[in-house]
Symmetry: C2
Amino acid sequence: MPAKADLQRLRSLREKKHREALGLFVVEGEKVVGELLAAKLAFSEIYATADWIAAHPGSQPAPVTVTPAEMERASHFPTPARVLAVGRIRRTPLPDSGLTRGLTLALDGVQDPGNVGTLLRIADWFAFDRVVLSPDCADLFSQKVINASMGSFARVTVHTTPLAEALAGLPGRTPVLGCDLAGTDVHTLAPLRDAVVVIGSEGRGLSPGVKACVTDFVTIPRHGHAESLNAAVAAAIVCDNLRRAAGH
Amino acid sequence: MPAKADLQRLRSLREKKHREALGLFVVEGEKVVGELLAAKLAFSEIYATADWIAAHPGSQPAPVTVTPAEMERASHFPTPARVLAVGRIRRTPLPDSGLTRGLTLALDGVQDPGNVGTLLRIADWFAFDRVVLSPDCADLFSQKVINASMGSFARVTVHTTPLAEALAGLPGRTPVLGCDLAGTDVHTLAPLRDAVVVIGSEGRGLSPGVKACVTDFVTIPRHGHAESLNAAVAAAIVCDNLRRAAGH
C-alpha cells in the first residue's frame, strides 16, 4: 500500500517543475505503459490495481498494489487508469561529433506536445539517428509527448540543446534541410547519407538563428490552396523523400 | 446588442445535437474567423467586440457588437475570443458519378477531430477533388475540426456517406488505395488520374466493409521500429507519392 505522500508525489509529476526537482516522469494508462514496457523502458516504480497486476504477471519492477480510490488521488486524469509508471529522467548529452553523422530530425520551438510526440514516432519509423529539441520545445517528459509518440519515446535518442549553436558548429558539408514554399522540389533531393532536417514551430516557422543555418530549402509541391502543412506532416514527407532518394 | 437568448443559442452550438437542430455551426477566434473569411466562406452572423469591428471595417455580414461580458456568455472557451461567427450547415450530396472521377480522400471512422481537420488541410494542399467522411468520423462542423483545417474547411468539398456502400458501387477500374504494412511499396505507385485513398481510424484501422473494397494495399517503407504512423501523416505521404507518380 502506498503512503499518502507517495500518491501526492505521483500527482505532482504532472508539472514540469516537480519532474525536474525529482528527476522523475510519470505515464498513466494501460496503452502507454504497455508500449513502453514492450520497448524495454526500465521504469523505477509501477503502481497498479490488483486486476492489472493479475493480468500482467512478472512485470518489472514489481508493481505496488493501489486501490481505485488511491489511484484517483495519484492520477492525472479525470478517469484514473489502472496503471501508472514512473521512470527516471535521463538526458543524453550531444556527443562531440554532434549532428555531423547520420540523419537528425531537429525541432525548433515545436510547442505542441502532440506534434513533438508524432515527430518522435516519425523519426523512429524512418530510423533517424537522433532527434534534437531546442529548449523551447514541449517538454519531452510530459505525458502528452510520451503518449503521442506511441512507444517511440523509448526507442529514439533525443538530445535537448540550443539548436542554432549546434547547427552553426557543423562542418560545411553536412546539409541542413528546411521546409519553405520557395525551395527545391523535395522530389529531386540528392542521395544523402548525413543530413539534418529542421522543423519550425506551427505558428512562427523557423527561428532566425536556425533559418540562417539552413543550407538547402526544400518545397513539398503544392497543388491546391492550403497555406501550409502541419509540421509533423511536412516532416514526414521530407523524411520519406530523403529515404527514397538514398535508395534504401 | 444581442438578446440573452441569442447568447444562449450561440453557446448551445458547441453541441452537435443543437447544431443539427438549428442547422448552424459556430467558430470562435480571430485566427479561424479570419482564415474562413479569407477563403470566402459566407457566414450568416458575426458577433464581435467593438475593437475587433473597428479593426475589420466592411466585414460581411455586418457584425453585431458584443461586450466582453456578453462574449463570455456566448463563448465556448475559458478565455473568450473577440469574434465569433455563425454559418449555415450545408451538406453536399454525393453526385451520381460518386467517387469515380478524380482523387478522393476517404476517411473511415477517423474520430479525432484534430486528425480530420489535418486531413482536410492535406486534401486541400494536394488538390484532391473531394473528401468523403464515413458517418462515424468526427463531426465536420465541430470547432476542433474546423480549427485544425486552417481554412481548408471552406475550400474542400466534403461529403458524408456510408463509405463501404459508396466504394462497393465503384466501377472496377477505379483503384482504391489503403495503407497496410504488407502492401506494394508506395514509391512504385503507377500514375493514376482517378483514385480513392482510404484512411482508417487510429485505433482500429479500416473497417471490414471498407477493407474489402481496397484494390491496392500500399506500404510506406519503414526503416525503424515504430509500429505505425499517425493517420494524417500516412495519408500525406501517400498523397505526395500519388501526385509524384502522376508527374504533376
